[in-house]
Symmetry: D2
Subunit: 276 residues, 4 copies
């Protein structure tokens, strides 16, 4: 039966759904304005236990899920939301052992999810021009024990990426179309490109330039997540919801067939077989 240990990352969830994250450390205490809990009382007990503090307030002691971790990122910028990250993972074919590049790092929400999913044999390489954002993202990753899966690069991707032949690239930047030559160069042939953009105008600008930079199979979509009040005899959606986080844009890095020359017309089949 699984129990908590010293140094585990834990989450206390009050009955009103309020969440608190803490690293369990012998001798410490956990204070809210609803009372105090001793870490020692939380160590060595089963995960999932319902805990009551000295004021009678109850909490569930739980391992945070990846979704919980993402929503709890310390942020200094707009983060990408779980609803979008889940689909990005499938769309970019992220999984154990993959190598993926992202820019910019931001607060590190997508970085966290990518690091989680590529696992120990994989690698996330994260570019940003701002040292403070990378420091924040590093702290966010370290807090959840995923810092070893990520390499940070502190430089402007306008100068190009250090890598080549990468499985997937995600650009979370205001004007990704500016960097498409660099994006095409970092991706392996057939590689997956993704981006998230808040405005329709940005989507148009990106689509326009993807076509001219050897990308194809563009997909644009948006994802809505609607929650319900989990009351069995009065099932209904919540009153309000997030209406928009961003438009997701995906494409594949391709090698266009050379335009057929006029005198090549006698060939039955003209493979686009470039030199390797």
């Amino acid at each position: 039966m699984r129990s908590t240990h010293a140094d585990d990352l834990a989450m206390l969830v009050a009955h009103d759904q309020k969440r608190f994250f803490l690293r369990l450390e012998p001798g410490k205490d956990f204070q809210t304005h609803h009372g105090i809990l001793q870490h020692d009382d939380l160590i060595g007990i089963p995960w999932g236990s319902e805990i009551r503090n000295h004021l009678g307030k109850c909490y569930y002691l739980l391992e945070p899920t990846l979704r919980d971790l993402l929503l709890n990122i310390k942020r200094r910028s707009q983060i990408i939301f779980p609803k979008d990250i889940g689909y990005i993972l499938l769309r970019l074919s992220i999984g154990p052992g993959k190598t993926v590049v992202e820019a910019g790092t931001g607060s590190g929400a997508l970085t966290t999810a990518l690091a989680w999913m590529v696992g120990q044999p994989g690698k996330v390489i994260s570019y940003d021009r701002r040292e403070d954002m990378q420091a924040l993202a590093y702290r966010n990753l370290k807090r959840v024990g995923l810092e070893d899966q990520v390499e940070f690069r502190l430089h402007d991707i306008a100068e190009g990426f250090d890598e080549t032949d990468i499985d997937a690239l995600f650009l979370d930047l205001p004007s990704p179309q500016i960097y498409l030559p660099q994006a095409r160069a970092v991706l392996g042939n057939g590689g997956m490109f993704g981006s998230i953009l808040p405005t329709a105008n940005q989507v148009s600008a990106l689509l326009h330039d993807l076509q001219r930079n050897d990308f194809a199979l563009m997909e644009v979509c948006e994802i809505f997540l609607r929650f319900y009040k989990p009351v069995p005899e009065r099932l209904r959606p919540t009153d309000r919801m997030v209406a928009h986080t961003g438009y997701l844009v995906f494409a594949r890095a391709i090698i266009p067939e050379p335009q057929p020359e006029t005198d090549a017309s006698n060939a039955d089949f003209t493979p686009a077989k470039p030199k390797r």
Copy 2:
């Protein structure tokens, strides 16, 4: 530069987005009613190449993404869609090395995504009563090379699961509330429970019984995915979309605090510290 090899699973995507999946095999040919391609012409060339067959029809030669694989599952039952699977993965905290149980297997779409994400150190255990469905799911997994991550169990979960202390459980069954005692038993404390249900009535029935079977923190949601036509100068959503796949229900396996006894009121702190 990455190129195709014999025995690779490949995808040919026509300019009208039509997709064809094939395992590259020397000497074989690939026929559609738009013409023929020789596998030998597709082996050893860069991924991402644009290919023209003898009738002038063009295709991109690509590695399928996880999303492509999921949409291409041979199905004999309703599959779970990528938009839902992406969120399920985050919500159940699936990742490299995790052990997850699902029932029923169905055609194996979720099984495929779970197997992909848990990777070699992980394990998916999939229950179904129907041998034909498991055979189909096995073929689907084998086709994409993920069959080693999955153990099939051909028996009725009403009799209980073979495992205990599992990270996460997903039930894709018409009446999951019937199996909640078994579900609680297979999950480790604090374990993640998920389900997908097409009707509101089923959601009510499940919520009602989750409360009585030591589950807490219920979440009900639905996910909409809306595609746009990727035309930069005329950006607009597609005319039609999927309006509903299912309601997602999530919960955590908890250990409720024993009701405080009347004479225990002098205790400052009453941890719900069960025997381990």
Copy 3:
């Protein structure tokens, strides 16, 4: 050119979209914490004028639209929203000269829209058990000059409606299924029935009983309204939206065909021609 007159109902809209409603009265002043405007300066000028008060704050002086009036209802209960009311009007075939019954009155938002649309030759009859709600609705109607189109009935519809042969009926009540015999009796043959309900459980209960009370052609739907920030170079949806107001349920009052008797089988055509 159209200008304001004393006694007109006017709306002042600040540049931040904040709305103020006022009846123009010579000699009065209009105060906000952003400054004062004299009504006399607002009377006899063109509608649509941009007005600046002595502190430099600007407003547009406008006739409120029906949508504005509905959102500005003084409310003591949940009102029905314009997005839903617009569709209800089409679905119940409301228009000049129609007679429509509603219960309950509530704060009078739907009452206002119905009164507006049926016009002088039409009639809205509004039932509620609560005198205070009807008084509130009356004040709301009087404020916008629509009180003559509405007759209030202060009694419980469990005892039946006073009317018969009505074009359309709308029930905005927690348990409309209780009143279906009365609802069927107030409607003319073929009459339109509508209701709005917040929970899925209520919808199921209503649908179940509509079938047994001589209603047919049931329709259930929900309407989402998503706003965009009206910025041409940064077009994007607002961050948040209303996720749910209610499920709309519609049906038609029908006369079911009598079950064919066994010896009537020689008739070529069996019209369900009841006595008139």
Copy 4:
């Protein structure tokens, strides 16, 4: 009790929801490939009657609602949908006695709804350059008895509208921004402007020019309508839905305040009081 009469417009709805519209005429018959009904058997019976033809197929005999009429418009162009029309009516404050201008006429769906709602004392003036479309719209209106509420103008609105001081204007044209000077001229001060546009690029272009043509209080929105299968014990949305019809754009015709002159700064209040 209300019954059908000769010359009534009627709707027969089969149990599978298939709808047929017919004008009741003594002596005629109504044929489908499911059998024949005599009009004489449909005249003089109560509305709402369930009717069985000689092959046992059942229909409900109903007055079409406005929604039914709109969906049954004979169309040669994309029509505006009821979900959008309902909101347009509220947003433009359409009602009995109003005068409203629209361009282009198209197949006449919005024309029909406007004509219905303004009633006998009101007026719809509908512009189109194409005579064939106006002929079609006229036939659609005549079929439902609303042709007297509509005046058609067969000319290009680039040359301006014949009217001035109109309550509301709706432009259903690909490039409404071209006609904004004309639009501002036809509207009374404070008048309501509306448009529907399929692409985000068109919305940006329109918003950009509204600001420069004395319009203010722009609103952009889109409306989703999701249907449910009306089965009480298995309540769930339909599988598919319309994802997009168009973006709705609304604005008010305003008179901007003249820029304050430098020497006017001693005035306590500077009303934008233009000549009348």
